[in-house]
Subunit: 220 residues, 2 copies
Amino acid sequence: MASEAIENYLKAIYSLSRESPTGEAGMKAIATLTGVTVGTASTMVKRMAGAKLAKYERFGGVRLTARGERAAIDVQRRHRLIETFLVETLKLDWSIVHAEAERLEHAISSVVLEALDIHLHHPSVDPHGDPIPGPDGKIRTERGAALSTFAPGSKIRVARITDQGPAFLSFIAEHGLRPGTKAIVAATESAAQSITVHASGYAAVTMAVAAAESIICESA
Amino acid sequence: MASEAIENYLKAIYSLSRESPTGEAGMKAIATLTGVTVGTASTMVKRMAGAKLAKYERFGGVRLTARGERAAIDVQRRHRLIETFLVETLKLDWSIVHAEAERLEHAISSVVLEALDIHLHHPSVDPHGDPIPGPDGKIRTERGAALSTFAPGSKIRVARITDQGPAFLSFIAEHGLRPGTKAIVAATESAAQSITVHASGYAAVTMAVAAAESIICESA
DNA sequence: CAGGTAAGTTTGAATCGTCAAACTTTTTGG
DNA sequence: CCAAAAAGTTTGACGATTCAAACTTACCTG
């Protein structure tokens, strides 16, 4: 098994290369995401390459091998199932569970994990709407587009939130914007780079377009 | 916070000094219990003394300070609540939960722990019948005596099992001997150093007196 | 294209937890 | 009491992970 540290690098490289057009992650970004200096990231990535978890060339981008990707997806499954458990079973607030899951994901065995999966009735998404990979590493493909791409008047349904920060999560939850809830894009103001959304039963909320990038929605 | 390694030494010293008449733990025993060489235990205990978690003199016994004992009890609370959760909520077999809890106890935060405690309705004993310390570190005093001290004909109620080995736990569970169940001491055979117990609804079982030391019972 | 800046690499050192092996103290059985 | 045996201590080394700082390469801008 990969050490706790290595698992964190796997997660970082996985999510970075996923968002990058080239499919590669940069050292600087890896270091920032794992909270480590660039030198350390460089050293560790080299080690991961030796362990056939990552592939890279000096001064080039980093990408995971098939083995590395599978290991990263396993960590993601653990993380998301634990988050779901913390919210569904223990009733913890969704804004704090990310940090808690970050610690537990490295300590849970597959026996406990699968028992958790059964207890939760095999959930397909976590409290943030992120898909939970299956035990085989398969990820249900997701649909939807960033809230920022919808025009005023659009009826939408929130699918997932890609920003895990507690402050942002608490803020949008106060305005009814959680995965599954419906809302209407009330207005967009390009001069102010803002967008206003209104979920029924809640006060309308105006946020920066940049913030709305983190809210993935479908038309409803 | 104490590191994972230190927490394991705390647990070992705590339980060893608890069973010892002098209230002190020996290096050899600490090393054996933590699965480490004697030299390592010696080094680490010295470090713990520096951190004011333990007290000892060269070539003398080890005991915990008040701080160390409190830290050990905290680990024990985490361990036992997690075991209870694994059995009660996730329906895992009690014979394997000790090992699982051993890994999780170092990763769980107090927020998650207290949520677990609420979810389980503040249990006072774990699946082995061991008392769960309160959040304040107080331990409900336990009663009962080893099964080996009861005379033939005694009606007993199993209170707790102090041996955490999966094989032993599975064995006795097959004969109905779990915390809370009632049984009768059918016979004792001093020549064979054995004792026979019969739980209603199960086949009678004969075991060594030494094994019966691990089963704590009350008269019933 | 020439610098300058941003990104990446290397090196030397530190900490933690561990072992093996040499050494020292205590204990214990005759 | 005294020589083994048992228990405990120390030392030197190692792997993992990290940092700071010196150094190298790549990229971008004027």
